[in-house]
Structures are given as structure tokens and as C-alpha cells.
Amino acid sequence: MGFVTMGSASHIGKRKEKNDDYLSYRVPEDGSMPKKGMLLALADGMGGRPGGDLAARIAVDVIMEEYYKDSSSDIPVSLNNAFLKANQEVISRGDNDRSILGMATTLIAVVIKKGRIYFAHVGDSRGYIIHKDGITRFTEDDSIVANLVKAGYITKEQALTYPGGNIITKAIGLSPDLKIDTRKQNRRIKKGQYIMLCCDGLHKDVPEEDILKAFNEFREPAVISEKLIEKALEKGGDDNISVLIARIDRASLFEVLLNG
């Protein structure tokens, strides 16, 4: 058994002509852990046009490369730097080719190191921890509706059906002046727990309790990923749907990480 079991799935959705989602990860190989921990990333490109998928791919590829290249030993700093590089790259590629001008994407990246979770996030793709007590979201959507909830103007319940719910306030590729939400989670991740990254194609259609049910029922990340996509398709599934799941399998992973 490895340290971690990965599973992922992505579906174009019922009403899209192409899949603008993209995901990637780097996990321990042969018992060795990269010094900067393991990295998972997922992006949901915007717009039904050529740029969306490209923006997502560029953003994820840049993150996977730049995070490990960054010289800082401070994980949030490296994540922030990598996000800024991704932003620059998406903007500059768009500016140089008007056929993809304005392409943009959400981006979420999670680093797990020494049992700690760090994340950086722009847009409305989400990160969750699934543990024995339930499901906890650790990202806040950069969306109009999420901000209206925070401002106390509408309730969480109203937010579920509030018009404009899919309009995001931040994205990679929109403006060079980007503030990234980069944080460390207080909670330690333990054996048997899961990290899930997903795009709004999943969380808009499948409520958290149904997500949790799938984890309890199916256990295997690859199976859960497929089942969640089936669920999203049952409940609507208009948008692209993507899920990336990591299950922590061995506590000894963290021994390696602690020595890491």
C-alpha cells in the first residue's frame, strides 16, 4: 500500500461542447516525498471558447512546475508565487494571441506536508477534507454570492438559489493585480481522511451531504470520483464536472514527511 491513493474523474457535462477543466498532482513515489510536500491542483477554465481549456491547462502546469522551483521554504509564499506566475502566464499568452484574449480560469492548489494542509485558491473551485465526522470545506468561493453571505445580506440558504451564483469575482488571467487567498489549515490530516478538490460543476449540483454519502459508501477515490460525477449528471450536470481525491493511507507517510 502506498502513502496515498489518488482518484480523479472529469466529465464534459450535458450541455458543453468541450471540457475546460484540468487537474494534476504530484505525490510520493517509491517512498520518497518531495521536500515541498505533495501538490494537488485543479482548474476550471472560463467560457465556452478556445481559451478556457488552455487557461486551465497553463495555470495547472505552471503551478506544478513553479511551486517546486520556488526558492522559498515557506509553503504559502511558494504557492502565492506560483499562482502569480500562473496568472502572468495566462495573461501574457492571451495578450499575444487575440483568438484567446481574455481567457481565464479558477485555480485551487493544495499542498500536504508533515500532516498539514496548505492551500491557495482563486475563483469558485473548492477544497474539502472528508473525515469521520463529516465534510469540511476549507475554501471560500470568490463569488458575488459568497461575499453577499459574508456581508450578512443573504443567508446561506438564499445563496443556493441566488441569481448570479456562478459569477466569480477573481480568476487567474483577468488582471495582473490579483490577490490570492493562501492559507494553512489548522487541522492535521490523518490516516483514512480524504482531500477533495472539485469545480462548481460538482458542488453546484451535488449537496455536501450527498458528497459525504458517496465517500462513506464507496471508499475508493477512483470509484468515489466516478460516482460523484454520475450524481452530478443525475442532478443537472449542465457544466463540466471534475473531481480530484486523495486518500491518506498510511500514517507512516507523515513520518517520512516529518523527516522530510
Binding site: R98, L101, G102, K150, Q158, T161, N166, I167, K170
Partner: protein
Amino acid sequence: MAEERIGDYEIISSLGRGGFGSVYKAKSSNGSMVALKVLNPQVLDNQKVVKKFFHEAMILAKLDHPNICRLIEFFPDGQNYAIVMEYVEGTELKELLQQQPNGLLPFDRAFRIAKQSLSAFQYANENGILHRDIKPANIMINKEGNIKIMDFGIAKVAGAATHDTAASMLSIHYTPPERFDPSRVVDTRSDIYALGLVFYELFAGRRPFDVDETSQIMFWHLNEIPEPPEAFVSGLPQDVSLAIQKALEKDPDDRFQDFKEFSDAMGSGTPGVDYSSSLDETTASEQTVVTSLVEPAAMKKKAKKKKAEGMPLALIAGIPAALAVLLIGGFFAYQIFLKGPAIPGTAQQETVNIEYKGGVPNSKGYPEITHEKDNSIMIYIPAGEFTMGSDIYSFEKPVQQINLDAYLIDKYLVTNKQFKQFVDETGYQTDAEKKGTGQVKIGKKWKEFEGAIWKMPDGNNSIDGKDDYPVSQISYNDAVAYCQWAGKDLPTEAQWEMAARGPGGGIYPWGDSAPDDTMANFADSFIDETTPVTKYEKGQSLYGAFDMAGNLYQWCKDWYSAEGKERESKNPTGPDSGTERVLKGGSFSEGSDSLRAPSRLSADPSSSSFVYGFRCVKKAE
């Protein structure tokens, strides 16, 4: 830059990249310099957004004011859109303020900027245009010291952001509180609030809030009362301070009702100086000796913040039009060149004198009769010729003179009461009832919603007490069944369009002027549901028919084709076959472009939606 030309323009240099896209300095074929904006096309498949912008551009191109940056042309550039604007050399107000010590300009200069802005906004407002994205970055100061307001109306497409992958370029710092409440009307007073915030920065050297987080800024707009600007700058005339405070009232009713009121309340600045006039070269040089610098350093201690009272916190539906989003995409091969001095007005019509047996002339002079079976009022449309179609979209083409025999058309949409009578008499079951679902907009998406049938068209609320509202959740098949029962027929697209635009070929039922919320129930009315069929008297067609624009899309008899083929010139009935039927007229959920008489939609004949209704015709005897 991969290419050096966009359309007929030679790109000279990049002027930067804004929230709306990339901006280039470019040279036109006649050698003049222009600013060319290539818009971020984030919603290629959102035709409505493109249509809405197209309509807006036509009006914008006609604005002619010394303090408004002129829109010269708008055309597609591959999958992008290019907007050609007057090239203004100068500095953004945002930048100008940042360059000043303590963020303050000399008072006289600030006052002149304010007065010119007010004059520009008043002019635009008189022509029915809201800016919707007023912020210091949209006010340019040219080298003569005069201002030019940029990006007029461009943010309007924000309201049409209906795509699930939209991103917001929200100018959240300048967003009035009512824009977070979709049930409230957004009008001039929303622009007044945004300009009040700009003036706050202009005269107080700082924003009225000192928070950064989006949610905190939203909270401020919704709840917190600003300190008077004079609290931060000693010597600021009280008129100016009070005017800014009034502009920033939370309730639009408490603000100035137009920019002229705002301008008057600002006082005279320095007695004897006309600040509203533009500077010429001579006065521009004099401007450099303006000395009445307001002392910015005399910042007074910030008083404790108070909470505003009476702001509603609950809201449920509609689109938050606050979003200064530019979402442009599309694939229509059209191009417009628009220049002109005036905004087209409502068509003037002389009362006609036409007779029809048993008919009583309506307010437009056309005879009306009552059709007994469903007790509907029908208008007699005499035989004649009218202009059908438009050149704007390929599927609306061609523009063609069409000749129709006389017919009668329902003055109003078929109501809940009339449909109930039909169902009671026949036991008819609609397609939505058989299926158990109808289409309802949930959030931003149209979805099949359980229980959404004609008796409960939004799936939640019954039509009880809404006898005079138009029946919706009606499929084409249902509409045909009703017509058969009533001894009537569905209109052909030509009959419908003639009744909507009249022989004059107006764009809208009332003529060529853009719709507002007194004429039609459409997206900008922010009603988000149907309204009684008799409500929009001002929006009636030249023949006196109501709701030929807005409220509900209306089924026509024709099969739909997007090919834009020439029609039969006499009594056309559309293609011989097809898979979808035509719907006309726009709805409460659509933007103004869908309200144009040539605009058309199509749907499966068995599909039902909260925005589908109908009216009937019958042969004239």
C-alpha cells in the same frame, strides 16, 4: 502583438489592459488616431449579451457631448469584438489623484472636474443612457484639463451576464447598495451614488471606507453612513460636502433625483467662475496658476461610524445588476458604423381612420371587436405592406417588404382566466402537465422544474388572484389547442411582426426609441415575473396591441429556420417543415434586444416555459 491591424485600423501601440479587455492606440484609414478596445469575449455562446451590447452601441454612438468619449464604431474581430473610440490623450482621474500630495487636487481644479462630469452624466441621462460603472479610472483628464467620461454604458452588458462561467469585473468600491437587491430598480440614482463616491475621493482625498475585503466593502455600502467629506479636509465648502453626502444616501429616494439637482447643490465653487464650461487653450494655461489649494493635511479625527437604518436585508430573486462585468462573445458577422446627432424618439403617429364591421376605434384609431368565445378584444389590422426582418443577425435576414391580407389579432396576451375557461370546458391537459415539469430559471439556468405548469408557472406560486396575467408554461401544441377551441389561430410570424411594428417598420412596437421600464416588462424592469396584460399602455404598438415587446415570448405558427432565406412576399407562412417553432417578443427575463420586433427565438413545439405564452389571430371577414 501577433498582428498589426484590427479591421481597418493600424495598431500603433498598446495602451494597456483593463477589465474590459486590451486597449490599443490605432490609426484609422483617414489617418486619425483612435483608441481601439478589443473586448474579452468570455461568453461566446451568449448571444443575448452580444445583442444587448449591439443595441447599446447604437445609442452610444449617437451621444455627442464634449465631456463624453465618443464611440465611433463597433465590429467583430474574429471571435472578439472591437470598439473604436475617440482617442483621448490624458490622465485617468485615478492616476491624477494618486499623483497628488495627500491625494488632493487644488479645489478649483477638482470642482471643474466635478462640474464637467455632472454635465456629461446629465446629458447622457437625458438621452436614456446610464453609465453603470462610474469610477475614477473612467474619468480621463485631457491635456487641456477637460474631462472625458470613458466607457459609457459598456457595463450595461453586465446585467445580461447569464452564463455559468462568467467572471465579474466588479467595481465594488463604487457599487450602490440597491444593486445588491435585484428587486429594486437601478436608475440614474445608482449612477449618482457612484459619482458621489468618486467626488468623495476627489474632495476628501480618501475613500469614505477603509476596508479591503469585498464582503466588508459590500457591508459598508449596505449599512454604514459616511463621514462628511469636510471632516477630512478643512475649508471644503459645505455645499460640496453636503451634496456628496446626499448623493451617498443609502435609499435612492433620498438622493438627488437627477444630475442637474446634484450639480445645483454643489454650489458655485468660487463665485464668478463658470466651472462647467470646457477650457480652451488660453484658459488651460491659466489653470496652472489656480491657487486655492484645499489644505489636505488638516485631517480631522474620524468620528465614530454610525449604522444606517432601514436597509432591507432580505432578498430573494433577480439578477444583481451591480456587476460591472463585461462579457462579450459571439460570432455574428455584422458591422455597424454609427454617427448621428440625435437619439431616435418614440414614433409619432397620427390617429388613423379605418373601419371594420362592428368595430370600435381604439386609442390609435384601429377598430376593435370582441371575440365572443373567449371574450377577447381583437384589433383589426388592415391589409397592407410592412418591413419584416433585420440586417442585424443572419437569422433575422432578409429585410423585406411583405404584403399581408387583413386580419384580427388579440389586443392582449391570452390570460390565465381565458385559458382556465378553455381547460374547464374541454378538460385539456397541457404538455407541461403531462410531463409534470416546465422550464423555470433557477439561479442563472433554465431547468425543468417539477410542478411548473400553467397553474403554477414558476413551480412555486399559484396563479390564484392573477386572472389578468398572461398564461405561461404553454407549449406550441397547447396554444394551437386553445386556438382551435376559441375558433381562432396562431399568428404567422409575419402577422405577429406586422402587428408589432406597423407599416412604418419601427424597431419596437412604439417606434425606434429604446425601451425603459415604463414601456415593457423586460430584464431591465427587474420584475422577473409576468405582469398584468393591461399594464404597459405606454408600450402598446402603433395598432394598439399590448405586450408586443416583453412580458412573455409568444408562439407563432411558423417553423423556425435560421437560414435567413427570402420569404414569400405575400402572406408568408415560413418553412414547410422544421423541428422548432418561432417565438417572438422577448420576455420579462430578456434584455432590450430581444424586444425588437424582428428578434426571434425558437423552441420545440412541446416545450413549455415560464416565459412562453401566446396570443391569437383570426381572419378578417
